[in-house]
């Protein structure tokens, strides 16, 4: 009994007993197993990539965090939770923790609001829309060091173009007067400034993600809702958001990770100063672990990002999975 096409007989063509034997001996030949194996083979590079580039460094940082490793002596002794205790004993750590939360939540909310607004604007038909869509992503595509140095100049205490413009418009006093803004010098202004640069750089990304979602919503659904009398906010809340929720969740997850672990903006603008006003966990970890050479304590500080990030990610991904199933 061979199949009409020739070649190997199909297992379905055998009598039941023989089929059982074939099944017992060649289970791996079954279509399901082969499909599974093929699927895992396709997945393997991604899993390997995550394991090597995320898993291994994460495990290594766990090892460092419970050791007294220094930059010159990475093979070190086990010190238990001493590095975590050392971080918790430092007042600078609490300032950095507070700033990290404010920075991440504040910048995240602003990026969501501005990104949504921009996405709706870019979704409207207008002349030059393609060009504008290309231009708005420039902040996100520029090398971060270059764009942040540009902002550093714009926030300069003496030559800030923003201040000179504000002063010319009569909104602030002249250079040297008490109401001349010192963007990176006043504690709250400094934190706002670094958040602003993060928002400036990140909200085009939010807008593009949202725009991708918006374009996937069938126009007839929106038109029907409009005919039924739904206003803009009702359409947005009841139709658009539920339909593009998976994209929104993924975008939020990415943005939260990027913001929480953003070292460059703060490092280049203020290096955590003045007096810790802009210190965040990544800068504190870097200055302690790399610049001061205390790798163990630096790793412990950076691991405090994990409990901050993990619940948010679990919540987002669980919500996403529920919606998918």
């Amino acid at each position: 009994m061979t199949d009409p096409g020739g070649g190997a007989p199909s297992p379905d063509a055998y009598p039941v007993a023989l089929r059982r034997r074939v099944g017992a001996l060649g289970w791996w030949r079954s279509r399901t197993v082969r499909r599974c194996a093929f699927g895992y083979a396709l997945l393997a590079p991604a899993v390997l990539y995550v394991a090597l580039l995320v898993g291994v460094p994460f495990l290594f940082s766990l090892y460092l965090a419970v050791s007294n490793a220094t930059v010159g002596d990475p093979v070190a002794e086990f010190v238990g939770l001493a590095n975590f205790r050392a971080a918790l004993e430092s007042t600078t750590f609490y300032v950095a923790l507070r700033n990290t939360v404010v920075f991440t939540v504040g910048a995240g909310v602003l990026k969501a609001l501005l990104g949504t607004g921009l996405a709706f604007l870019l979704a409207q038909p207008f002349v030059g829309r393609r060009l504008v869509r290309g231009l708005v992503v420039i902040p996100f595509t520029l090398p971060i060091a270059i764009s942040v140095l540009g902002w550093k100049w714009m926030f300069d205490s003496q030559f800030s173009v923003i201040n000179w413009a504000l002063s010319r418009l009569g909104l602030t006093g002249p250079y040297g007067s008490p109401d001349w803004p010192v963007w990176l010098g006043e504690p709250y202004l400094a934190l706002l400034s670094v958040m602003f640069v993060n928002v400036w750089r990140g909200f085009p990304f939010s807008a593009i993600v949202l725009l991708a979602g918006l374009t996937s919503v069938p126009p007839e659904v929106i038109d029907s809702a409009r005919v039924d009398g739904a206003g803009f906010f009702q359409r947005f809340r009841r139709i658009i958001v539920p339909m593009i929720a998976p994209i929104l969740f993924i975008g939020t997850a990415f943005d939260t990770v990027f913001t929480l672990s953003d070292l460059s903006i703060v490092y280049l603008l203020t290096n955590g100063g003045p007096d810790g006003a802009t210190e965040i966990l990544p800068t504190l970890a870097y200055n302690t672990g790399i610049r001061a050479g205390a790798l163990g304590r630096g790793a412990a500080i950076s691991l405090f990002l994990f409990p901050l990030l993990a619940p948010a990610m679990v919540l987002l991904l669980r919500t996403l999975r529920r919606r998918q199933w």
Partner: protein, 443 residues
């Protein structure tokens, strides 16, 4: 009778002793011969040498050094490549190279000194240090800890950056003041000149300048970071309190809040713009003013340092130290290059326009290149006598380095300037500093 007798003076050398003596003699002889010949031995020919260092604040110096290294390489058959990167990125690069066990052959610690952290993985350069001292005079005592660990040299100090006072003679004269001699003179000038639109400024922020400027004030007021061994913290003193009190008054009377946002170059621009009446910074600010604002430059003068109330005068320099990884593929060429550069220290000083200050006393022969021929800068020719480094009077140890890189001392001053009480700032700062030292002591 089993008692051993001491060897007679004429006893023949043992095999090991003979080999050790021969090796030391041969190495020393070769080094001295090389120093005299100013030429590297034949075994480095056809090799390559990779150097990692900072981007110098005087760009012309980098150009000179690149050319200098290229010519040395051509002469000796060594392909030389120098990578200049911003000084703040160096620590991460060192850590990455060390973790990988590969990278540059010759590295330079700039401002932040990692000799203590990495010494087990650096080549012992004691022979070069001794040979250079023999040739060019004594090493500066305060600088030895930048390169030495337990008496052995794991680095060779290249140069340090002096941080003098740069002041405007015309503005001082306008309020009836002459050359400042003390911190009190500087405070008075700032107090009188701020209302005229010419405040002063020192960084209350997280940058290198903040670290060395406030340390200079501390040391001039007689305060000490640690004892000479570097084991005991000695900041909890009346002198520290007086320095903080003075800083608060100096800020209130003579500065504007912009100093809270300054980076290392802000005060250079502040002086060059014609606004600042004085700043406390390296002579790169002097050169910037020379290049960008000749009118202001005409009235800008230099004082090596001003004295505190007890007459103490300590300038805080930034050391730059060469080191060679043990995993270097070409340690011999790296050693040869250090020696060759040390032999051309005077050319290097000239190329840096007086910015690079030497560590060896013999190089202070007047007139010093880059300084001696410029009347305004000639006052810096005895800077070695008043130069200290972070951790003073203790060594530049790993805990002192951590206190430096986490900006604890500038932050103490910032808190006081912003209105915190001196006792609160001291309590916070000392708590953090004690925690750092305790962690290092615990290992």
């Amino acid at each position: 009778m089993s008692a051993s007798r001491p060897p007679a003076p004429s006893a023949p050398l043992g095999r090991r002793e003979f080999l050790r003596t021969s090796a030391v003699g041969a190495a020393g002889g070769a080094l001295m011969a090389m120093l005299d010949a100013r030429r590297v031995p034949a075994q480095t020919r056809g090799t390559s040498l990779r150097i990692l260092m900072w981007s110098h604040f005087v760009p012309a110096y980098d150009a000179w050094l690149d050319d200098f290294a290229r010519k040395w390489g051509e002469k000796n058959g060594v392909r030389v490549r120098i990578d200049h990167i911003p000084h703040l990125e160096l620590p991460a690069r060192f850590a990455a190279e060390f973790a990988a066990g590969a990278g540059h052959d010759l590295i330079q610690f700039a401002g932040q000194i990692f000799t203590g952290q990495y010494h087990r993985h650096l080549v012992d350069l004691s022979d070069i240090a001794a040979a250079l001292e023999k040739k060019y005079g004594k090493w500066m005592e305060n600088a030895k800890s930048a390169a030495q660990v337990k008496g052995a040299w794991y680095g060779i100090p290249d140069f340090y950056i002096a941080i003098p006072v740069l002041w405007r003679r015309d503005l001082f004269a306008a309020v009836g003041l002459g050359e400042p001699q003390t911190w009190e003179d500087l405070r008075k000038a700032a107090r009188l000149l701020k209302p005229r639109g010419h405040p002063t400024g020192m960084q209350f922020s997280h940058c290198n300048d903040a670290n060395h400027n406030w340390r200079a004030l501390l040391y001039c007021f007689g305060a000490k970071e640690t004892d000479p061994s570097g084991e005991q913290i000695e900041l909890d003193s009346q002198e520290t309190r007086e320095a903080l009190r003075f800083a608060k008054a100096l800020f209130d009377e003579g500065m504007t809040p912009e100093v809270f946002s300054w980076d290392d170059a802000s005060d250079n621009r502040f002086l060059a713009s014609g606004v600042g009446c004085w700043i406390h910074d390296a002579i790169s600010a002097f050169r910037t003013t020379q290049d960008t604002n000749p009118r202001v430059f005409e009235h800008t003068y230099v004082v090596p340092e001003v004295a505190g109330p007890g007459g103490f005068k300590w300038n805080v320099g930034e050391p730059n130290v060469w080191a060679i990884w043990k995993f270097s593929k070409n340690p011999q060429a790296a050693r040869d290059f250090i020696v060759y550069l040390a032999d051309h220290q005077r050319e290097a000083m000239e190329a840096s326009r007086g910015y690079n200050m030497p560590f060896l006393s013999g190089h202070y022969r007047k007139p010093m290149p880059g300084l001696g021929n410029e009347p305004k800068l000639a006052v810096l020719q005895e800077q070695y006598k008043i130069t200290a480094f972070f951790g003073f009077p203790g060594p530049m140890s790993p805990p002192a380095q951590e206190v430096l890189t986490t900006f604890l001392i500038p932050d103490m001053f910032t808190r006081v300037a912003r209105g915190a009480s001196i006792e609160d700032a001291m309590k916070w700062g000392l708590g953090e500093i004690r925690r750092v030292y305790a962690k290092h002591k615990a290992g």
